[in-house]
Symmetry: C2
Subunit: 193 residues, 2 copies
């Protein structure tokens, strides 16, 4: 059976102490597996590999438009590694794609985020902050054309060289009248006053 992922199962980790940051979980698994004191605690980790890299006009974070009204219409290329090119068959029939990628330069995580679109803090899972427990990014792009293993797309908000983990077809939308957008809608309303 081909293996797509390596699963690290660490049994017998020490009981977490309150002062230990959640951000240390991964390192604790890696460093303390031989110091286990708590039986039965199993932490399963998942190791991901890049399937390609983003060609982007943005070299660093400050280049990416952010905040209320930021437009994401930059063009770029999803360069898929040659060994994965067969996986792109028929992708050119889709107008939009989900791209799942890694914030490989985010440097840490914070459970409360301060988005550029608001002057208040919000839970990281209610934001698109790069400083997440797992530094995974998600972007919807418009597929303009495919040239072999290169997908020319519009709507890039990743940095040059960003590792891509997965691409999926965008199949359906939630109707706008059904959407509630919480703090973001409130921040937009305040900004418009």
């Amino acid at each position: 059976m081909p293996a797509t992922v390596r699963r690290e199962t660490a049994q017998g980790l020490p009981t977490p102490t309150p002062k230990r940051s959640f951000c240390d979980n991964v390192l604790a698994v890696n460093h303390n597996t031989s110091a286990g004191t708590r039986k039965g605690l199993i932490v399963q980790m998942f190791t991901m590999q890049p399937i390609g890299f983003v060609k982007s006009p943005y070299q660093n974070r400050n280049d990416v438009p952010r905040g209320l009204g930021a437009k994401h219409d930059a063009e770029g290329v999803l360069e898929i590694l040659p060994e994965f090119e067969p996986g792109l068959m028929d992708i050119e029939g889709f107008s939009h794609l989900f791209v799942i990628w890694v914030f490989d330069r985010s440097g840490g995580c914070e459970l409360l985020a301060s988005p550029p679109s608001d002057n208040r803090q919000h839970g990281v899972f209610a934001t698109r902050s790069p400083m997440r427990p797992n530094p995974i990014g998600l972007t919807v792009v418009e597929l303009m054309r495919r040239a072999g293993p290169r997908l020319h797309v519009r709507g890039i908000d990743m940095l040059e060289g960003t590792p891509i983990l997965d691409i999926k077809p965008y199949l359906s939308s939630i109707a706008p009248e059904l959407l509630r957008r919480g703090w973001l809608a409130e921040a937009e309303a305040r900004s418009a006053q």
Copy 2:
């Protein structure tokens, strides 16, 4: 600096041979780092940890509705681990969420997928097949209510116990008139004849 992710950098990996499956990449990195013969080849891996687990009515793959016209209105719970609960602050203001999760029982990967909605093969990145190079799932759910670290949602298509990697707010939709849905639209048209 808190560490959110462990990065495994394997330098000096052996040159891949054509007959080696792309699915073996991860194992190659793990097993051959001391046997490097090719200088300068760097493979960066990313290790992800669950932030919680899905409570689902589906115990195994055959329980999940699949194929053309499959409805995904099952209710379930995203049970977030206690240490990540502060990251949910203000999430209740959003009607819909992206859930990024792991196909932890998918068993392998194939670059050409045979979706249940079609009798033809398509590239895995043009499908939602679970057998992906990185076994990452993406589901849009409707958030019904939050009870502490538990998000009660509608639209579950994951199995019971599925590890969750990330949650993000659903902020905007692509207008239906702008969407092209490739082979899926064609399969639907053939099915309706």
